[in-house]
Symmetry: C2
Subunit: 332 residues, 2 copies
């Protein structure tokens, strides 16, 4: 019989803010490997804001995370056993094995990745789903052109950091919004944005206005609430808005938006999207992102929590903006 492994299940649905008690660490046994399946030892778990939505029973775009089942989520690891012709022991793979040390998946649910030029963990961030969210929004919704001003909230995060760098690469003015001077400095100095506004500094609208002297042509919205409102007030005519996340409202009643008039007055085009619904774009996007990472043109930062047991607290911190760059869990 296979040795037991550790996993984290959803123990109860949060009411308001997520708490550690909503999760439970437990042991489980891997099922016997069937034809076409692959057994993976996870090395990194991806923690992402969308998981908060899945924890609620409320109808959303995706099925709820079931109680007492392994928390869903992206993973990167190594194949330990394979009954699928495309995978061999030792292969690096990314998949959706959830908050667990190991798992079994069908081969077609795994993607073999090259760790020769890119670190395995990057396939969960800049060269994975978060990177694709930025790539899709910029290319398919924001249509940002050279010389235009692009604004992105949660700019130091896994998605926002890629968005601004991609915008810079095409000759846009990239302006971030992030929480605190350390994150803002990172966004400008390390990631090369033209400016970054600290929404916690108390002068959001004035600071954003100063950072966007020519207004905002395209907005990538991750935050919602006051940050979204401020950005709306700076939009130029025929501006484009990609709504990727509204993290400020994930743990309670979302803050209302006041500058709705801008949608009409500025003739805004806005689209909310879920990047996993546009898989037809992934081969092209992932190839571009991986090439840019390998060439050193796309930088990223990670916050890595140690060990499976650290995942709940790391996730709670993520929802509060305590992470810095992509939030991962490294399995021991």
């Amino acid at each position: 019989m296979a040795p037991p492994f550790q996993r984290i299940v959803l123990a109860s649905r949060p009411r308001g803010e997520v708490k550690a008690e909503n999760f439970r660490l437990e042991s489980a046994i891997l099922p016997e490997l069937q034809d076409g399946e692959v057994c993976v030892r996870n090395q990194f778990l991806s923690l992402d804001p969308y998981m908060r939505g899945r924890m609620s029973a409320a109808k959303s775009y995706a099925a709820s995370q079931e109680l007492d089942q392994t928390m869903i989520g992206g993973t990167a690891g190594r194949v330990t056993a394979s009954r699928h012709p495309d995978f061999a022991e030792g292969d690096a793979v990314v998949g959706l094995l959830g908050w667990a040390e190991a798992g079994v998946a069908r081969g077609d649910a795994l993607r073999k990745v090259d760790t020769g030029t890119i670190a395995l963990s990057a396939y969960l961030g800049v060269a994975g789903m978060p990177g694709m969210a930025a790539w899709y929004g910029l290319n398919h919704i924001m249509h940002a052109r050279e010389g235009e001003t692009v604004v992105v909230s949660a700019a130091s995060g896994a998605v926002g950091s890629v968005l601004g760098q991609l915008a810079k690469l095409r000759g846009c003015r990239a302006v971030g919004i992030a929480g605190g001077p350390e994150k803002c400095a990172h966004v400008v100095v390390e990631l090369g944005f033209d400016a970054c506004v600290d929404y916690k500094a108390g002068n959001l609208l004035a600071d954003l206005s100063a950072a966007t002297p020519d207004g905002v042509d395209a907005l990538f919205e991750n935050a919602g609430g006051a940050v979204f409102d401020a950005a709306l007030s700076r939009m130029n005519g025929f501006g484009r808005i990609a709504v990727c996340g509204l993290i400020s409202g994930y743990s309670g009643a979302p803050a209302p938006i006041h500058n709705i008039g801008a949608l009409l007055i500025k003739r805004i085009s806005l689209r909310g999207f879920i990047v996993t619904e546009h898989l037809e774009c992934w081969p092209q996007g992932l190839a571009e992102l991986a090439a840019l990472v390998a060439a050193g043109q796309l930088r990223y930062r990670e916050t890595v929590a140690p060990g499976l047991a650290s995942a709940p607290d790391a996730f709670i911190g993520l929802l509060k903006g305590q992470n810095f760059g992509k939030q991962l869990v490294r399995l021991m």
Copy 2:
């Protein structure tokens, strides 16, 4: 010298609600007709919500209405003198001569219309700019398909009434939102919508839910505020929203929108638009609308105020929803 005519000018900018004292009725003299110009005696003035925005000095999508100048606006009348080869005395024309009994315009700023099968006044409503707003939103933003549910606010108004009828003609379920039982009855009985919700009845969300059992696939928004919020909560995945007006917020601080999360969760596509910025669509759209009116397939209702002096009060009533169908002023 030409005889004097009456006109209404903007005397002062409103603070909050528009008041009669913001306007001034006065006499003026027509300028001498130049080559290429046409003199028109207006028979109808169009009153439209967009005029409220022009009365403010605040930056909007269009230049402000200047103080002490004739209030802007669409007009329909007859040519009284012409120095343009395409126009002759007696021709029926629509133009933008403003709140005035007469005016002079260049020929290329006038459109000659056929009053043989369609009443002159209809070219200011169902077969004019308001009709085009509905036509453009339905065809170029909402992409409503047979069997889908379409919702429109201000459903008995000049734009909303056309929107719902066009939706019905293509096999959609058309649901209106309007103020009061009389308007709602008109929308269903006379215009043929499948249902109309009275937002003044106190059960907006429950009533709208009952009227849209399969959710809302496409929304045409004229109102803003609580009406927009309720419609957002009923949107289906991949729903489309055309924002044409937000009349509830025109006279003060616009009501905030709470259901912003729907933009993301439902992956909404939304676009605000000004139909006069899409003139390339007008020849096709106006031809379709006129044909439908002539065939009796597009019905309309008008509220006609008598005489130029009645325009300010009629406009103030329009902003409060006191009109029923297209608001016009008939000149004596």
